[in-house]
Symmetry: D2
Subunit: 352 residues, 4 copies
């Protein structure tokens, strides 16, 4: 790669997602944070004062002392990560693209836009080709999927490639960190499960078909899976657990699913992307696994865990998926997207 | 009913289920605890010493001072509730039936036995007729279903009656109390979801068809629903939450399900059973409900709550069910079974 | 008492404390809720719509349909309970007193005011005499102490009366419900203890001396205990646990403390107040007790539990105290205050 | 140090502490695990099968495949770490010492034995001199303190050196992992605090005086602090939080304590021990800190955190201490002890 690190700006740097970007990028071999952007209220303050840091490791010292700036497109950065709330992302992200910045966004606003890649590098790395058809200025926008979409699609991809998939039924038990900070009240969380997360189920139903779709002639031809999602919030800190049942067009058995997951080889396996896990999917034989508390950190939060693969009496095969919602499902996924783009030569030093 | 209360013995009185029987029977208008039976280790001790009481209300004073006796069939009781572990129930329950005691059991051993009623009074009260064909001595055995079966079947019954049901897909998030005491280790429970409960899914798959079956000529002709269950353990104290999707033989919409649940009238509504809740099924419109911590106590733990009734993209209609696992799903359900039997004249004062 | 129930208004009726007032007053034999007052934003709505009800029992049906009114002193009520935030109570409570309403407040604003009784009926029932010297209009203000003060003072009172007390050192582990709703973020609460609660320690240091003081010549002569408090927030729903160490002026041993607590007789024991618990203080011998989850509900949340009474190597005697923070420590304590005032003839039907 | 790594055996390798030893030693630059010893039941099995691994990272692959052997003194190791239960340690540890093995033990059995060093390298590194007077064969036994003692003593040491300490009063809120696995029942842990831990308070009262004592003429002359401990179990996974109040012989203020903690320099600061944290004590100014979930991992679990240093109204100064109970308070502490011994030349390759 480049000898010199690419300079990175973070939009929404003081929020929960922004903080996770800072954690994931700490010590990154290719990227270096050079700008922390947030709302006018934070601008001008030292980062350590502006952010209510919620992480369990300390703020990296170099970051703690940096001055927060306003989220306007004159940032000292070669590209930006966006951890903006969707209330702000809709307006701000296009401004940055227009001003020539590649915008690697975790926000939901442009995920389903026709000209914007919705990207999981191991799943649809070729979708970055959509950038060539994107007309949003000298920069562009690339997005990663919703945190509850990611685990599902990563587990489905090897099955989709091998067998095709007709339908997927998923019930999620999602971690509290997915709601940001302060997010869920402790009185709703402790000893409770909330069977509803506003807007979540729609994302799980729509995003997979774009992710599993095919890029042809400058547009994504979506896949046609029928997906049903029931999304719940469980008292877990990190890690979305999902109970998935799949219906295939042909006869597929649990053992077939197991071997397909084990045999599947990521298309980016040889790219040497720093954030890509050694093992994309970990398949468990122990019926008690995977569990959020024990396995969420596998592959530094980038491995997707699958267990309890067995026949489904109503559809065909069912299993459990676990993925890290704020790493694989948010900041880590976005950083991997940026690494893929860098590898493809789509990120470069900006001239000033 | 009888002017004089029926005398009740509790088998396994010191265990978690036995304790719940004591709580539920405290102040019962028809039944009075006259015998507390447990293992040889506890026999001879005062109950307050023999039991490691885990409840949040105190041991009823009269019970605290009673002497625990061995679980042998010379109990001073007109009938017995069995809260025995399945390791003991298989042998001990038939001894009591043989000795003339009606045995109202919460254990799993005889639930699927051909001659033993598996009973939810609101669902299949006529199945007590099976007792007439049971040949286990002067007494008999009656069982209630597994705690995770109960909520599902209570919600399905009105739909089964009105529309028929082809298939049901259920993912459970079950409370810790379902595992007894000490049960689940806190290191497995806190901030975690365990995607496996040994033996649980089989029960959820098989029991509903017996419960929804038809009694003809001294046997149960089972229903033929295809059921798929994924059972998980969540860090909740009381209350099993279930995400259910249903496929119907004909065209049934979410609104039809809602009105069927609301219109359905329990066949025992006029029986005046003390433990029967005023409302068997509570249907919620608020998408955030039901929740274990807030709604598990409705109808003193005997009401089954249903919410989020909406179309399912893969099957037909999906919804959330909540039921109290140690009351409706265990001790309360068994007491209601006994009340039904008393009402039907199948329980009587025993001569000595 | 009065044949006819006294009419009660609740200020701040939609908040967490207001909701608890509604729960505690449901079915009250002396008092009947006739007015629900809240902010302008809620005024005009049905209560069920205005309040985000967080309780685990349903809103009492009669209350659910009542219209919320603005918190202005033309309420249809003989007296009012105030569950107002301290940001509003400072201004609104005196308006009601001035307009002739007795104000039974849970807010902190006037607790330490010289002319306002700070009241625990079992501890200092004679302090209501201060009302005769209060010059705030035809009505008056009476307050109950902070939720973390209550358990401490209830446990100290019998010791203070018998032995005197020089100093008390207390470390609290306080429940989440004490912070209201949404209150503490689940990300701060789950699997964590927060060693700080803003403003809390000051209240625990100052309020006990007023509560244990003596009413003379129209003023409270405070006691002179030295108190040190360290207040922490633990992931518990209801129930403040406190580790207390006490230094006495003379030689007092653990057994003396135990017998003093057991022998002590509440001055209001014969008053027949409906909310007063049968047992004011419950002393446990089992070293594992009291525990929030198991014992917080004793005496319907009005009993104070004490356990592990033993020598302290640094002060003299140490023990554990548990009290229900939203019942004994808030709404239940205020209702008991009103019952005492009613018994003393200080509450009456208001003419209009 | 030695070019070649020292060979390490772990006694009790399959238990909770043994597992933590494996985690802490993974990739250790000086030590290499060569023997995993456990009970007869586990001997002969592969480690991955013998152990119910509870950690959140995977078993290091080299360890997973090793064969577990019986805990008898013919282990292929230069020295051993003991994670044995106290029921086994009393007998087995002396056998190993007699057979020539240095035994670095986390068990409580010999902590208070007159000839056995109780060691925290930053606190009393010279106490290893006691080994020269120990007559237990060619090997020896060295111990680390109880997990709830460690945080207290680390925070007291700089104060003891600078001002002397008369008395310390501590209330602990201890993590569930301190009870091992399965340890505390989830029904006791969830939403609860248990105000009692069997045997714990005695250890906190006695161990500090040995740790702060002076080695003279082959024995430890203990310090004479009066210590009072109230130990509770809170629903936290890792990290003991302690509310400490201290009385000094002279006039010492909160600011003095703060600067003493900040100025104090560890006697082993220059030893280059791999497990020693860069910062032994971290002092927080933010009143909300330290918190178990956020700060337990500082210094890879070896830093002790102190916050809320302020005047105590009853003793002199009070503050909050947090330490990692299974790293600093168990396996990590023992490994640091071994590193100190290696540095001092007290560990060597064993001849065979």
């Amino acid at each position: 790669m480049t000898k010199e690190k690419l300079r990175v700006g973070i939009l929404g740097a003081t929020g929960a997602v922004g903080q996770k970007f800072i954690e994931v990028l700490d010590g990154h071999p290719w990227f270096e944070i050079t700008a922390l952007a947030a709302s006018a209220r934070s601008a001008g303050k030292r980062y350590a004062e502006a952010a209510n840091w919620i992480g369990s490791s300390a703020i990296p010292p170099r970051i703690a002392g940096m001055e927060v700036v306003a989220a306007a497109p004159d940032l000292d950065a070669d590209f930006v990560f966006s951890g903006l709330d969707s209330s702000a992302a809709g307006e701000i992200e296009p401004l940055f693209a227009r001003a020539g910045y590649p915008v690697i966004s975790n926000a939901s606003n442009y995920r389903m836009a026709e000209d914007v890649p919705l990207l999981i590098p191991e799943v649809n790395p070729d979708h970055t080709g959509l950038i060539d058809f994107q007309d949003r200025g000298d920069g562009f926008i690339v997005t990663n999927p919703n945190c509850s979409t990611v685990g599902l699609v990563c587990a489905l991809k090897p099955l989709f490639d091998r067998f095709g998939v007709d339908a997927a039924h998923v019930v999620t038990m999602q971690a509290l960190s997915g709601a940001g900070y302060p997010g869920v009240s402790s009185l709703d969380a402790l000893g409770n499960v909330v069977p509803y997360i506003a807007g979540e189920e729609d994302k799980v139903v729509t995003e997979p078909n774009k992710l599993l779709g095919r890029l042809t002639e400058g547009r994504i031809d979506p896949a046609a899976l029928r997906i049903s999602a029931q999304c719940t919030r469980a008292p877990v800190l990190e890690g979305h657990l999902e109970a998935v049942s799949v219906r295939f067009p042909g006869k597929v058995q649990a053992e077939d699913v197991k071997s397909a997951l084990r045999a599947w080889r990521s298309p980016i396996a040889d790219y040497g992307l720093p954030t890509a896990p050694a093992r994309f999917i970990e398949v468990f034989e122990d019926a008690r696994f995977p569990q959020p508390r024990r396995h969420v950190g596998l592959g530094r939060g980038m491995t997707v865990s699958v267990g309890r693969i067995r026949p489904c009496e109503v559809l065909d095969v069912k299993f459990i998926v676990l993925s890290h919602n704020t790493i694989r499902g948010a900041a880590g996924g976005a950083v991997l997207n940026a690494e893929l783009l860098a590898k493809q030569g789509r990120l470069a030093r900006r001239a000033y």
